[in-house]
Amino acid sequence: MRVSGFGGQGIILAGYIVGKAAAIHDKKQATMVQAYGPEARGSACSSQVVVAEEPIEFPYLSASDVLACMSQEAYEKFVGELREGGTLLIDETLVTMGALDKDVQIFSIPATQFAEDLGRKIVANIVMLGFVAGTTDVVTAEAMREAVASSVPPAAVELNMKAFDQGYEYGVAQRAAGGAAAFKAAALEAELIGSTQEAS
């Protein structure tokens, strides 16, 4: 999967936490590589996570099964690499979707809004991780929870767990509704809905 957004959102940390959840807590194999450039706050940034049962031969994504986007720029840059039948997760506070020409499952959450409501915009990435755990099978929710708890500063664990739970519950509900809620929440354009599986 790929976690994407802009520098300063904790995108690399989010990718690290997914990988750690898989490698340490789910006892699988995992790699995480980051786009490492002159990234300062505000520019596009992403991390690639590969999770597998077997040792990982190639630690880079040729196409992603799951793509989480936390910025418009990242969405536009990476949506093309999403595999047919893959899963797209967007932070609808920051991303406005356009029409898609492939069949993907879409889940949408106002992650940054949730984080702001919690009083710290900085935990939007953890809201998104909760959402990842709630909507996909990349890692188990328990593993993700443990990985979050062990990767953030001790003083911030409580806030982060709150953020995680919000994202998780929002995700579980949306998944139960087959992703349909995502469409409502995101108020997507009609043509987009027409192009996805769930709407038909």
Binding site: Y16, G19, T31
Partner: protein, 432 residues
């Protein structure tokens, strides 16, 4: 300290750089002198945090020249020591790397390769320091360089590097790269008692009689700890067993020949490779480091496409596995060498193949790793279009091989078990 923090037994999700640091810690490293440089800084960072936990010392030196010198000094003071660097820093360390070789000083240097020359691509991958690793310091010498393929091997091979450096009293290089250094991956650190840790031979004779450069039968002199009361003198000048400068051809021949031989005569112990499906393969990928990692996938894809392909992964790059390539060249049609440089290790492969197999370079100059498809394409191209031509050449080579084999038999008195050995000799002759 109540708890031993040197070996962090357990499962970790850490970068290659951090894994190198942990490999050093597990080996018992107690001193790190270095200067931060992307993409090697995380090795230093981790050591700065970890060494104080075990009573060790971390020093950020003024530059890489001093860094290299500091680890030599620490080693003579009895501490296992290491440094890490990249590109420009590696160049600056070259002179004192030579001093380390001349003074037979155990130490480990991790080079997280990035694009060059000069400051080049600080944040992006390359494998273009492979020849510099071998020949970058002046004069004749042998050293050891290892190339990890994963974060796990960053741990394993840094530990192994310490073991070789302690055993042979030689600086050992860990040649990783930016992509590996910054990749985060699962690393399993075994319990301390399961790790093989080699410590240098120590002199236990009477004080006043210690000769710091008098080698035992294994060509390696025992060490002592500076400050233990032995009289010693060390110099980068050509020296005798006492370490005193001697400016003569004889002294130079004796010393430098031994420095070379102590590695050359132990290649069977030092050379580590991973062999995958070499038996009966027409095409063999020869690679190392991140390019070998990518080749795992390429190998599988090419096999699925019907290619008769195997892989020889160089874990030890220096000393180069000459015998192995020479033997293999007689059996295979083509070597494909993917590496992120303009062609470095391919030169060694070609030299050792000695015309018995075709050698094809797959070159990328840095900034990105190979896509598996690029390697697959090269394999399939070798396997298909030019096959007739290549097999013709191969036949030729095969015929001359038979001749060689015949000579071999005569020479070796037709012992089957001796076949491989004598064939090595024959090739050696042909090679020279």
């Amino acid at each position: 300290m109540s708890e031993d923090r040197s070996v962090l037994t357990g499962d970790h999700f850490i970068t290659g750089d951090e894994a190198c640091a942990e490999g050093g810690m597990a080996a018992g490293c107690m001193f790190f002198g270095g200067y931060p440089i992307t993409p090697a800084t995380e090795v230093a960072e981790r050591m700065a945090k970890r060494l104080p936990e075990v009573g060790g010392t971390f020093i950020q030196m003024e530059d890489e020249i001093a860094s290299m010198n500091s680890i030599l000094g620490a080693s003579w003071a009895g501490a296992k020591s290491m440094t890490s660097t990249s590109g420009p820093g590696f160049s600056l360390m070259m002179e004192n790397l030579g001093l380390g070789i001349m003074l037979e000083t155990p130490c480990v240097l991790v080079n997280v390769q990035r694009g060059g020359p000069s400051t080049g691509l600080p944040t992006l991958v390359a494998q273009a320091d492979m020849m510099q690793a071998r020949w970058g310091s002046h004069g004749d010498y042998q050293l050891i360089a290892l190339a990890p393929v994963s974060c796990q091997e960053c741990f394993d091979l840094t530990l192994q590097a310490f073991n070789y450096s302690e055993k042979y009293r030689v600086p050992v290089l860990v040649m990783t790269d930016e992509s590996m250094g910054h990749m985060t991956e699962k690393v399993v650190i075994p319990p301390k008692e399961e790790l093989e840790v080699i410590n240098r031979k120590m002199y236990d004779g009477p004080k006043g009689e210690y000769l710091p450069f008098k080698a035992d039968d294994d060509l390696v002199p025992p060490m002592m700890k500076v400050g233990d009361g032995h009289r010693i003198h060390v110099t980068g000048l050509t020296h005798d067993e006492r370490g005193y400068p001697v400016m003569s051809a004889d002294a130079h021949e004796t010393l430098v020949r031994r420095l070379i031989d102590k590695i050359k005569k132990n290649v069977d112990d030092i050379i580590l490779v991973e062999e995958i499906d070499l038996e009966g393969a027409d095409i063999v990928i020869v690679s190392y480091g991140i390019s070998a990692r990518v080749s795992y996938r390429a190998l599988r894809m090419a096999k699925e496409a019907g290619a008769n392909v195997g892989m020889l992964r160089l874990i030890t790059v220096w000393p180069f596995p000459e015998k192995m390539i020479r033997e293999l060249a007689k059996k295979v049609q083509t070597f494909i060498v993917p590496e992120i440089n303009a062609g470095q290790i391919v030169l060694e492969v070609e030299r050792c193949a000695a015309g018995n197999a075709e050698t094809v370079l797959l070159s990328k100059l840095g900034g990105a790793v190979f896509q598996p498809e690029e390697i697959v394409e090269a394999i399939l191209a070798e396997g298909k279009a030019p096959r007739k031509k290549a097999s013709a050449t191969k036949k030729k080579a095969g015929a001359s091989k038979k001749k060689a084999a015949a000579t071999k038999k005569k020479a070796s008195g037709a012992k089957k078990t001796a076949k491989t050995k004598s064939s090595k000799k024959t090739t050696k002759k042909v090679g020279r």
